[in-house]
Symmetry: C2
């Protein structure tokens, strides 16, 4: 059993490998080889939560779960447990804070590969945290582009994000004073605002969408969290979700769009259908497309497997004796 | 983070402490301090399963889950993860094969304390495996008795069980050739047959119940498993379950009784109501009472906590560095 802490996981999570694994996972899901029950969301004490999301992947021969729990006040801990399906052995336990952001970015990479135009010049990034970075890295793994603009409510954080990403990706990067200026005339937008309760305002509006744009929105993963307005759904020619059922139950953005009758079900698809080639991810050059992600345990288990293999190869983490004996009856 | 293997857990699971903890847990549940979602049962490969059962205990300040998975062919592995609610720290991971049997026995001990007569002389045990032993130990922790009879289909196993339990408990113990002979004129019966698919026949029948008897039945925890017939339910003056909702969904015995219209809902109670003093566990001296258990994560988390404390005190297991960093947003 391999134990990996936060720093080790971050060293063992190459974006290109995460994207390949998650793309293959969507084909596996499309082929009916995945068991993905609704995740369990439990209240925990006065203001905390305890959430468990498992998946079984029959073609990959893997199973596992992510557990994350805590509260804003006490902090949140993320754990991924990875099992080999055939032997039943618990292979690894790892910190999954960074990996949650990285697999979300990788999933955005998969969606972008199938949904965005090929001729991308400018990207608008709303948000300046870890998820904004990993989602931009996901896009950068599948599309070349020349420049980004970034907006977040904190001027220092958006300036720092621009500097860091210009350096990391070798691109032009500027911070803007308003979200409108950030996304004006962009070919692709990433909306990745703080998904933990401080996003008091809508960060992105459908009124700002221009022909040909592709939008990735990943921040609203609980009913009380909001970042894109109902018009963003209404104005899209195609809306793709990583898990439609889960997102209609859990995303405050989707719940609001449904409530305002701005959730056009006839234009909805799941990412697995696009990846499996059963539907086109981009109707035409001028279509407006939206990818909305809430995250699934398939992504977590496959990302955990990438990290496990990479860590073994690089000698990261600590091997401890297996504590689980198989019992025969 | 404390890691405990099978042998260490078995050394750190004293029955009296398990019974006290689980009894307190039922009061906590009765007071509305417990979050217990339906457990997740996933198919796993061709003939296996992957099952996750979590609980949050707000008064105890604990949370955790049991995961068990595998197949008859490949073997089954049981894991309990225990967390401190206030700090959010993952305290321990432990093998939970023995502990599952022990906490089931402890729960039977709690039920027996509130439901069985005080004047117990003879106990009939149907089954000769680990659960038969732990359930008898649970009863022995709350009632004195003089003798047991044991029946199981394998003559060698029932003889060995009788010898071992006579030695362990300092009682008379005899093996019988038929289940009827085993339970004739007993004051209490334990039905704990192989719960993993080889119980082809009904092991106990309601026709054998005599006035004043208390029956504990714990083997049928999946729809395909059977051990007590519908008459056992129909003939009981009081039926108590550890979790009525779960047992109606998961126990083949309950499903069959419902189908044959022999499941008298007006005589059903949950164990928490008895333990909390809201209802009597034994109507009168000659009542026939039945405790049916399928197991809950409350039992697992509290049993894991007993083992954790005992292991710390006795220096059992291996402490490894915590791998989970709390993240603040």
């Amino acid at each position: 059993m391999l134990l990996l802490n936060a720093a080790e996981v971050e060293q063992a999570a190459p974006m290109a490998a995460l994207i390949d694994a998650i793309e293959a996972g969507y084909r596996e899901e499309a082929d009916g080889q995945v068991v993905l029950p609704p995740r369990l969301n439990m209240p925990n004490g006065r203001d905390g939560f305890f959430r468990i999301m498992p998946a079984v992947l029959n073609r990959s021969g893997l199973m596992g779960y992510k557990v994350f729990h805590g509260s804003m006040r006490e902090g949140i801990r993320y754990l991924i447990a990875l099992y080999d399906q055939h032997s039943g052995i618990l292979l690894a336990l790892m910190d999954a804070h960074y990996l949650t952001a990285a697999r979300t970015g990788a999933t955005t990479g998969v969606a972008t590969k199938f949904m965005a135009r090929n001729d991308i010049e400018t990207i608008g990034v709303i948000g300046s945290g870890l998820e904004a970075r990993t989602n931009l890295l996901g896009v950068a793994a599948v599309r070349k582009f020349r420049r980004i603009r970034v907006y977040s409510t904190n001027p220092q954080r958006r300036e720092r994000f621009a500097l860091n990403m210009a350096h990391e990706l070798g691109i032009e990067a500027t911070a803007t004073d308003t979200p409108q200026a950030c996304v004006k005339d962009v070919d692709l937008a990433i909306v990745a605002t703080n998904s933990t309760g401080r996003a008091e305002q809508i960060a992105y509006r459908g009124a700002w969408m221009q022909p040909g744009v592709h939008v990735n929105a990943i921040g609203s993963t609980m009913p009380r969290l909001r970042e894109i307005d109902p018009d963003t759904f209404a104005n899209a020619n195609l809306i793709v979700g990583d898990s439609l059922g889960q997102m209609e139950e859990e995303s405050g953005d989707v719940i609001a769009a449904v409530a305002e009758n701005k959730y056009p079900r006839e234009r909805l698809l799941e990412l697995k259908e696009i990846v499996a080639g059963r539907a086109k991810g981009r109707p035409n050059h001028t279509s407006v497309t939206l990818f909305k992600s809430v995250g699934t345990a398939i992504q977590d288990v496959l990302a955990g497997h990438v990290v496990y293999k990479e860590a073994l190869e690089r000698g990261l983490g600590r091997q401890v004796d297996d504590i689980l004996d198989p019992k025969f009856f």
